[in-house]
Homo-oligomer: 452 residues x 2
């Protein structure tokens, strides 16, 4: 096989139409009202896999189904490559901050705007179309290909791990390739050397039996909102380090080579300010922004709700308060250990007159790459050819919890080959994917397969 | 005139029907979707005033209208008594915690349950019916009577003060009588010696331009929810005193007589625990629960909203966060000064990388009674006759901001004669009013007028 440098315009036009159709399906896995839509998106993937020449089916799970496609034409002796992606998306809230509706994809200024454009429908789509070009008309490849697209990545991949465990032999692969991350920058391709893990909790405070009048009772009873704020204020110290005892015990220090490679990369400071709209950066003292993003753990409050939050003034003392709290973890931190430490911390700072509860919602282990071997080299080579620039090694602050499972359960090397760009607004309003990466991404994958 | 000891059952049955009709109108002044209903409640009061023999009309304001009734039959030389109440109610949220719907009044265990049953429709109703008995069939009184019921008490009486200012002569009165508070306890009538004032704010934090992915950006940008929690945690010190510099400067110490009178009252500790469902009481160190309720100021967080607060896990760094913060004030604290102090405090504790804003939503000055004179004596006497027990002097932790205005603008003595009971759940789900106080309240008012 030889690598092309561009795709026919008629194909690109069709890809755009098909991708938009995929993005229009509101497959929000976290919310029960979108359950049918999530399934529809899974079925859409199955149809696209079948059109690409794979044997495809929707596999039921206890939650949202898995779209599975297999092409075994390379024969039982040939190696197998597993392509992983997900067809579910984050909730689109707050809706009012979207310039165009989240499930009405549109192209503006060279970007495709839609929920899921980058995370991960748009990137999964690249694989579907690359395989369609390679296998769709009876073509062949030197490797067997399995495509696995789940519908629960945004809610913790709850049912994927049991599926991997029970299908170890069927899914056995030498390598897993995943496009669900960003390149280091526009025009600067990259391969990932790490992912952070995640531990996500809901903290609940109950102070009184019911909301109370702040005049009639104010000055005598505990206030759930006040207690919650105080607990949250103990999560960091004045150096913005996580102030939970033992939290850093599991953090493995990175080798000097990786830290030097990070220091040699162009500064992300200005682009971070531009992408986020922050007036200033902040974070753990003693580390650069890229280090804080890639190789240091964090603690964030993702949401708080208590009392009266609508229009106007209501003079209540809130009975209850809730916060969503999550941690990004780095090797070798363990989400279960973090849960134990958080519980101990909350117990210690809870005043005797209120009740608190910590509920685990979601978790994933951190991951560190093996940046070597033929699959890694093929990916590196393909990125250089498609983007005309040497790829760099980069970290990723986000989490793909299933990555560690792929390595453990299938014994596969994982290659993280992302095509979104920094500032893609994944998990935020106005999520986007660069329109020209539709072509460049497919070309990269075609080149990748051609060098295997 | 002589005082009766009970009312005919047929009248009580009719009063119950009429009160329920009044309570069924969802006159939530804070919410624009209830604007028409709020007006309907005002018109209902006008009809009731006309039925009671007063000249009545709905007076337009820039907001919800004022229901005004006048009876000038005592002649221009006779003194005038002004009856004040309000026909608007607090929002009923959280709806799911009501045993029966807030606008479907029902009697259970001797209590009328409905939003507004105690605050203040139920108590205003007592005055309407007492006047109907006295004036309805061409009866007369030795004093002229003006009834003023507003529809904006729960949103700060914004348009009432300008109305009082522009109608000083028409509304001139020797005394203002208000039933919008609670008695000290069941079977223990009381007259109020104080009201706390109120200063209510919304604190807004903006950290970034949009919600951000906590993996992609976590560790580099400020988190609005975290910053808000930290700011809120600075509002109190470890003695539960308000930790805003200068906050206590305006607090006038109470005389030893009042403090001794408070100490001699039965303890509220057990009843507070029972009413509120709290596991323990808390509040400013060095003061008893009744002192903390009546003669000490407070700071409460009434609501917090930031980031993702629905079902499941969403890994965002919130761009914005909001808290409703209010203070109960005591003489001689000034809400405007408290606003200035809060702004200075928030500015001081706001980190440079975020923006904060303090918006004033609602305020009212604290008040201290003159517990003497013929109107006070008449009320004292009437309570003793109707309830068979000597009334006590009590404080009130809540606020009726217009009280200070009545004194200043009309030169009137204000008498606060409440008939609700502690634990009435005003501003909370399952608000109630004792059913037998429908009769006892009207009997008290009939006795009050008979001794003028």
């Amino acid at each position: 096989m030889s690598s092309a440098t561009q795709l026919p315009q008629s194909d690109l036009d069709r890809y755009r139409r098909e991708l938009f159709e995929f993005l229009e399906i509101p497959s929000v896995s976290a919310r029960s009202e979108f359950r049918d839509a999530t399934r529809t998106a899974g079925a859409w993937v199955v149809d696209a896999l079948a059109a690409a020449g794979l044997e495809a089916r929707l596999v039921e799970t206890a939650g949202h189904p898995i779209a599975l496609g297999e092409w075994r034409g390379a024969g039982p002796e040939a190696p197998t490559l597993l392509v992983y992606g997900h067809y579910d998306v984050q909730p689109p809230d707050p809706l009012e901050l979207w310039t165009s509706p989240p499930f009405a994809p549109t192209v503006r200024d060279g970007r495709i705007y839609a929920r899921g454009a980058a995370d991960d429908k748009g990137q999964l789509f690249l694989h579907l179309k690359a395989l369609e070009r390679l296998l769709g008309n009876g073509g062949t490849l030197p490797v067997n290909v399995v495509v696995l697209a789940e519908g629960e990545e945004e809610v913790g991949s709850t049912n994927l791990r049991p599926f991997l465990e029970s299908h170890r032999e069927q899914l056995a692969a030498e390598a897993v390739i995943i496009s669900d991350s960003v390149m280091f920058g526009a025009g600067q391709p990259s391969l990932l050397f790490s992912l952070r893990g995640l531990a996500y909790f809901e903290l609940r405070v109950r102070a009184t039996g019911t909301d109370l009048h702040s005049g009639t009772y104010g000055g005598t009873v505990p206030n759930a909102a006040v207690v919650l704020a105080r607990i949250l204020s103990t999560l960091h110290d004045s150096d913005e380090r996580v102030a939970i005892e033992g939290f850093y015990d599991g953090v493995r220090e990175w080798d000097e080579e990786t830290r030097r490679a990070i220091r040699e990369l162009p500064s992300r400071e200005e682009s971070l300010l531009r992408e986020t709209g922050a007036r200033g950066l902040t974070g753990e003292r003693g580390y650069s922004p890229l280090e804080r993003l890639w190789i240091r753990p964090t603690c964030e409050v993702n949401g708080i709700l208590s009392g009266y939050v609508k229009e106007g003034a209501k003079t209540v003392i809130p009975a209850e308060a809730m916060a969503k709290i999550s941690f990004r973890l780095v090797p070798d931190q363990d989400p279960e250990e973090v849960a134990r430490l958080l519980r101990a911390h909350v117990t210690q700072v809870t005043p005797p007159e209120v009740e608190t509860e910590v509920v685990e919602l979601h978790s994933g282990r951190p991951w560190r790459a093996r940046p070597e071997g033929p699959y890694f080299e093929a990916a590196h080579h393909a990125l250089r050819n498609a983007f005309g620039r040497e790829p760099v090694l980069a970290g990723e602050g986000g989490s793909i919890p299933i990555v560690a499972d792929f390595e453990d359960l299938l014994g596969a090397q994982v290659i993280l080959l992302g095509f979104a760009l920094p500032g893609a607004n994944v998990h935020a309003p106005d999520e986007w994917f660069p329109f020209d990466h539709l072509e460049k991404g497919i070309l990269t994958l075609l080149d990748f397969y051609s060098s295997l």
